[in-house]
């Protein structure tokens, strides 16, 4: 469903991403790993439209999306989280989820002012969806807290829930386990697998936590210094000499 072909991104003299290719099929979890500064997040930023790639193509469900404005890509059903949590921190937890459902809501100003039955029905539906996902990630009791006051692990979960209420086809997670303790990482592991199994979402994952990556990925792409280094199943990657070299250094 997602195909990245020879993606390149150049910042002035720096070639941050060089000829990276990637493909994600439906119902699949694909991980991107690599040392710090390898260009993983830059790939994400190109895919989600924050950067205009300087070369290559990105096809989502057969249509080219590179260079489209970020919000349009998101409306197509490719939604991402961020390496550093980006919540609307002064808004409450529910409001965070309601904002995300903007496109499902009737945004007609007059209908909203008049509170037409149609508007109310949609508003109620989005509230129900928000409640469902809060329950799913275990934040229902905190629904009216300010998002900025949540604990870090809760903020991470809220960010994923916020993506899921948009009913995406492809979810891009940028280091979702960063800053989580082992128990929380295990929960996250289960959550991501369930997103794939129960909600039919494909996932692209950037992660440093190898146990998480090896556990849940269907395929893994390794990037080193902007270049693709290897790709394959977790087993293949584990035994790849180049990867071991890049990660552990030469013996």
């Amino acid at each position: 469903m997602l195909e990245v072909q020879n993606l390149s991104m150049r910042f002035g003299g720096l070639l941050a991403v060089d000829q990276v290719s990637l493909d994600v099929k439906e119902h699949e979890i694909v991980s991107i790993i690599g040392p710090n500064g390898a260009g993983k997040t830059t790939v994400f930023n190109c895919m989600s439209g924050f950067y205009q790639p300087t070369g290559g193509k990105i096809l989502f469900e057969g249509a080219e999306v590179q260079g489209k404005p970020d919000y349009k890509i998101s409306l197509l059903g490719m939604v991402r989280t961020f390496q550093h949590v980006r919540l609307f921190s002064q808004m409450t937890v529910v409001e965070n989820l309601l904002v995300a459902q903007h496109r499902h809501l009737n945004t007609n100003l007059i209908a909203g002012l008049m509170k037409t039955p149609n508007y109310r029905k949609k508003e109620q539906k989005s509230l129900d969806r928000a409640a469902y996902w809060l329950d799913r990630v275990g934040l229902l009791d905190l629904a009216n807290r300010e998002a900025g006051n949540l604990a870090y692990g809760q903020q991470r979960r809220l960010e994923i829930a916020r993506c899921m209420v948009t009913e995406p086809k492809l979810l891009m997670l940028d280091e979702p386990a960063a800053g989580l303790n082992p128990a929380e990482t295990k929960d996250l592991n289960r959550l991501i697998v369930s997103l794939k199994e129960d909600y039919n979402v494909s996932v692209v994952l950037i992660e440093h936590d190898m146990s998480l990556v090896m556990d849940i990925s269907d395929r893994i792409n390794v990037i080193n210094q902007g270049r693709p280094l290897a790709s394959g199943t977790p087993e293949e990657i584990r035994q790849n000499d180049d990867v071991i070299k890049a990660y552990l250094g030469e013996a």
Partner: protein, 423 residues
Amino acid sequence: MIANNMKHALFCAVITLVISYPILGFNLEARGVDITISGASTFTLVMVALAALVVFAFQLFRDHIMSALAAIPKPGSDSHKEPMEENRRAQIQSWILTGILVLALFWPFFVSRGSVDLATLVLIYVMLALGLNVVVGLAGLLDLGYVAFYAVGAYTFALLSDYAGFSFWMSLPVGALLAALFGLVLGFPVLRLRGDYLAIVTLGFGEIIRILLNNWTSLTGGPNGIGGIPEPTLFGMEFGRRVKEEGNTSFHETFGIAYSGEDKVIFLYLISLVLAVFTALVIRRFMRMPVGRAWEALREDEIAARSLGLSRTAVKLSAFTIGAFFAGFAGTVFASKQGFISPESFVFLESAIILAIVVLGGMGSQLGVILAAVAVTILPELAREFSEYRMLIFGAAMVLMMVWRPQGLIPMRRIHIELKKQE
């Protein structure tokens, strides 16, 4: 400790002297063509010295005073109290608001004409501040040229009535819509800007409108302004002693009551009240609608908002347009109240005052903004005797507010949303 305080206290006292003596201690007097400086009366000098002494004493015993103050329980703080139940709180609040509204409806019939006139001005500022609150408080776009939209509303009415004979009621929507259009047009170039840059561009826009009005003499009359702006009519009934326009009747003749100049003032007050309430209600609805949440989301984190499919362009433009719309409303009422407008009324200071109201009241908080609008408009009137020091007092009040209550008079409260448990 004391020695340390002593030094600090002396310093503060000297600063007080240095600042207040030149301001209060000398008077400029015009004698014929010459201007002479004369010393102030002994009383003033004594007062200045006394003030310095008070500052000195306060700073010297600052720690004692502050700890004594801290020991007094604050009546307003409810941090240790159980928060009131959400719907009960809302109920009480709506009762109080209804009470105030009813009071506001009947109040003008018992007070002097001057007070009603002032109250109308307050309501105009309420409308302006509520509108700016959308742009600054909710959408987080610092707009220093808001007065431009106010001017557009006022001049639209003035010009339409002057050239095309439009009445107040016809001009009201036209003025508001035209101001909204200006908001939309200004919105486009500033979309990419944020923070300081946005503030400067909007400041420039405000000045451009004012200078345009000042110099386009053939259309706007330039600095001479436009006079003879008609007052609003009630179903075609005029409030003047004599009917100005053919076909209209006059209010006092229709109802067979004696003519009174006050009727007109009260009528204008009631119109402003209705419009201000309308503004508050509409914006309150907006805040709870997707568009309101989108404004806040964009203020909180633009990148996250975009990643969730919110178009920055649409959200920012809607905030600018809606904010400008209500400024147009206020402008039309203002023109009608004054009967005469000139570019003088739309200087930068107006923008600054409206912004100050929003900040004082609490960004995003409607109740706070209304309260601040009342305070900022009425206090200078009450303090007329100190008119020379008005801006001084105003500035001091701002500083004190920012020190003690940086979040504003009534900080914004988030609405509580009840969720049904899913099976």
